[in-house]
Symmetry: D2
Subunit: 344 residues, 4 copies
Amino acid sequence: MLGIGVIGYGYWGPNIVRNLAETPGACVRHVVDLREEQIAKVRKRYPGIQTGADPGALIDDPGIDAIVVASPTSTHFELAMRALQAGKHVLIEKPMVTTVREAERLVAEAARRSLTLMVDHTYVYTPAVQRIRELIVGGELGNVLYYDATRINLGLFQHDVDVIWDLAVHDVSILAYLLDAAPIAVSATGQNHLSNIPQNVAYLTMFFAGKLIAHVNVNWLSPVKIRRTIIGGSRKMLVYDDLEPSDKIKVYESGLRLEEDPEQVRRMLIGHRTGDMWAPALPPTEALSAVAAHFVDCASNGRPCITSGEKGLAVVRTLAAASRSVQLQGHAIDVATLEPCNPS
Amino acid sequence: MLGIGVIGYGYWGPNIVRNLAETPGACVRHVVDLREEQIAKVRKRYPGIQTGADPGALIDDPGIDAIVVASPTSTHFELAMRALQAGKHVLIEKPMVTTVREAERLVAEAARRSLTLMVDHTYVYTPAVQRIRELIVGGELGNVLYYDATRINLGLFQHDVDVIWDLAVHDVSILAYLLDAAPIAVSATGQNHLSNIPQNVAYLTMFFAGKLIAHVNVNWLSPVKIRRTIIGGSRKMLVYDDLEPSDKIKVYESGLRLEEDPEQVRRMLIGHRTGDMWAPALPPTEALSAVAAHFVDCASNGRPCITSGEKGLAVVRTLAAASRSVQLQGHAIDVATLEPCNPS
Amino acid sequence: MLGIGVIGYGYWGPNIVRNLAETPGACVRHVVDLREEQIAKVRKRYPGIQTGADPGALIDDPGIDAIVVASPTSTHFELAMRALQAGKHVLIEKPMVTTVREAERLVAEAARRSLTLMVDHTYVYTPAVQRIRELIVGGELGNVLYYDATRINLGLFQHDVDVIWDLAVHDVSILAYLLDAAPIAVSATGQNHLSNIPQNVAYLTMFFAGKLIAHVNVNWLSPVKIRRTIIGGSRKMLVYDDLEPSDKIKVYESGLRLEEDPEQVRRMLIGHRTGDMWAPALPPTEALSAVAAHFVDCASNGRPCITSGEKGLAVVRTLAAASRSVQLQGHAIDVATLEPCNPS
Amino acid sequence: MLGIGVIGYGYWGPNIVRNLAETPGACVRHVVDLREEQIAKVRKRYPGIQTGADPGALIDDPGIDAIVVASPTSTHFELAMRALQAGKHVLIEKPMVTTVREAERLVAEAARRSLTLMVDHTYVYTPAVQRIRELIVGGELGNVLYYDATRINLGLFQHDVDVIWDLAVHDVSILAYLLDAAPIAVSATGQNHLSNIPQNVAYLTMFFAGKLIAHVNVNWLSPVKIRRTIIGGSRKMLVYDDLEPSDKIKVYESGLRLEEDPEQVRRMLIGHRTGDMWAPALPPTEALSAVAAHFVDCASNGRPCITSGEKGLAVVRTLAAASRSVQLQGHAIDVATLEPCNPS
């Protein structure tokens, strides 16, 4: 039985606690939050859980084997580091941290102590993304040509991170999972329209090896909510609309064979759509319940995580490159070095 | 009665001829196309129109006062220049030409001869775009913060231009019309996935004066067709979906007052949507019929065109900047000079 | 403080308990269900609530002032009657009961004892239906000409009632609320496609005074879920789509003026749509929380209920007429007498 | 070469002429319409076609082998009968005629003279309906359980027929084609809300042999246009949305096996949807071009028509039964005898 402590009971914390509470092999023992009214909610719903305002007490609690860091992003590094140093496994909310240096130090610390460090990139655990990975790995789509995501809404502002670190983080982590690869360079643009509030709209283009290009459109000031990703492959293409109650993934047999001669390709394209569409059924699993089960399994059995600290570090690297590129009005940034690419 | 000749009877030509044929004050007298089977169609539908394969004969035809250049883009400059030099008014299909130099020379020639030079940026003449301009000019939206367009489909490949010059041209011309302003700089990225076929996917970010940012996503290899533009204003926001049979424009009262204090803004945004939505009725006018009427009016009466050669030149300048930026992996290009911006 | 007991903790019971638990002035004290695994859930979530399997013990519990009957429909009459006889206020799930005689006896018993008898017609309490009533009562729509609802899905089968009593009950109760009127006659058709399972598809037409006609299409075997109601008025028309995350109600200015001369009407109709569309913002209130608050208020203060026993009786009468009409292949049934209408 | 005359150049006539003009083996020689402005349009577009106002002259024209009757419905019988008596093949617009007696006489006359009598039930010739028939005949759907169509819009009023004869005629003819069967009885309800204008809303339930039930919802006064048909089968179900630009047909693997035991069925239905969805690609053929080709082929080669006069007679019989049922407030009418069914 893995004893679990949760730091932060704000927007996401209640979902975390509820899912961990229902995960076999785990027991939520301690929850802390600075806000008394949040802690009151924990006490009302879970009378058996110890509560408090002091993360230090939670980290030092000997009944706690693993800690979830669900506090504001700016506190992630310090709390996660202290938890690792106290010998606890750590599940950390996205974005993990906001500098590459901090991410590297957390990864190193977890490695040195052989502790599980996992990032809660929840979308990776959705049945939809899991199925898309099967389609890609199984060769159904052929070579992936592009990934194009729109993730916009008139939604909750994050005060301590901007829209790239709040929303684009989802697509960057999904891409890392789908492709087993990190981008080589990133060109990004954006704008902050509201004083005192960080960047609220941004556009990222990520260049991968070969001709694969990924684009992400994130916006906090949209009048409508859109969660739509198009993935173009050389054989098939798919549209993933996370807001569809059913048929979230639609696979189109309209792919092109790259080997075909251009004239034939041209003719194929004159028509609207040449093949059938197919929407696989998806199980109704809640992604966060899979996150909870995976973390408990990895921490209890020393298994590697799908969204490990290393993977989280790669995500942070890409987001840091994007942030730098926005400052340079779109000049591409080398993800490995975080330096501007040479104008080719 | 304005005598009209049309060069090119391919994809768009038949629509042009049909609309001009129904425009009062105009008479289509002569149509040329190199392809015999296309010319046969003209003869069958319009027995009274003279036909042929020789643009020169058409240009020299004394019964012709105005010429529509609807041939492949690579021929636009030469044919339009010859037409102007022969003293004819010219309506030229989009993209006008593909170099700034050529656009400048056409504009100068038309000015010298006091001839009408108009570019067929058809979308500008749609009831939807006309209405959006009214909303912007009338202050309904407040300050325009961003313009975000997605214009993708699995569609007809243009062999002699890439997706920027084929599709993004629509948004660049719409923006010029809506804002009465040209972008200061452009950052663009893209990819060509098919050998022997030009760039098929591209992403443009245009920086305007102030904090206004415009983004355009164009793609020839999408499994689905999307024509959706979101315009965010400080008072209201709108979504323009050109594929909706009705309710093409939806105006949302969810705009923010920039002057409000951030904390209040933050609270407003926590809810999904705070105000009503409203979809103005639009007349069912065909845009091309408005194009035809406007061209006939401008040419006959010497009036200035909404989409004049000068406006077309500004569009060409922006597209040229985008093309250059794509070569530089997103490095922003100064639209006025077409030189890379200094990394700030 | 109103002490509340809940009989039945199956599909809807947990929602009832959760909402009543958060209603000021009420305290859920006792929950019973025959299934041990359901009772275990209550104990886990609400350690302070008394639990058990015996409705009799709950009804006799002196700490209980009001009882929610959320058990299978076939048990509603007996349990509600016993609760009333024990002097308790009663909130009863829909459908209230399945015979007019039983509904009449419950209404009479509650009246004799001056107890609150309320039916949980949840949809009546949605912000959407509340707003539609405002539009109708305020004259916005003009005279209501028709109500046309489609309520279909591949969903949970109810074993002890058919699709009319399970799904059409929603529309019949909504209509009663919107119009303050009951239908005069009902013609209904339907079919049961699965042996041992009651009617799974049905179509009801309800005739009201004047020319108002209402139609309801209910189906348990649809491949897609639809919850869409169109209300046509002489001035405006509206579409209410309960599955839309926002813009659930769209009001169209395409109404006709009945007084206009037919020729003019004809011309108006040739176009697609002549006026604007408008979607009022709706508060995000959960309907069941309004149900809980209203019941607690009515029971505590002796106020009349919006969905009182009398209203529920009228709904039962209409559904009974529909059921009889289905047996007669659509022959209209007089709602007041439940006899076949004379063929006119 | 089949010489063709067309009577009536109103809403549908121009489409008929255009498609017949492009059909190999046919030549449109003569068009008549009482309205001078309509005839002027013919002359402008087709200078080679003889025109006039007198149907008699057209019927007697010796160059005419086949006649299309596209005039108002009330004139169909007389014109079609005269054409048949003059030895001409006849293609007649829907609705063919509005009485069973007239339909029988036309069928008999055509049979006696061995002439082709075809009804233009255009929807039968759409790629979508053709494909649905393949799915049904091929057993893909299993046993058809129900057909449920919604065909509503704020559209063109027909002055001489009501909404049943104008819109429901489409579904009745589609059903006849899909099922090779006519309904046994019809129960229908409706209302006429506008004085001097015939019935504008109607609901038809058709009972077929076995447990198959078909329902059609037609409405001229809807604020939105809907063209959606759901077909439930024992193995699969489909949704046919004629307004979808692509994916008009969606096939759901959520069908039930009737032989399964009810308990298992119940469990299957608790989830939202258990199987994949699939949308077959459809060719972009215009239905009316298939109508034209089929008529020319049948008339030229004496082949039987898919939508022959006999089929049209069956459609008329069903619509007449529906009209009678509306008068009787839903009392079912026997389609064979047009008498009210005995209340069972």
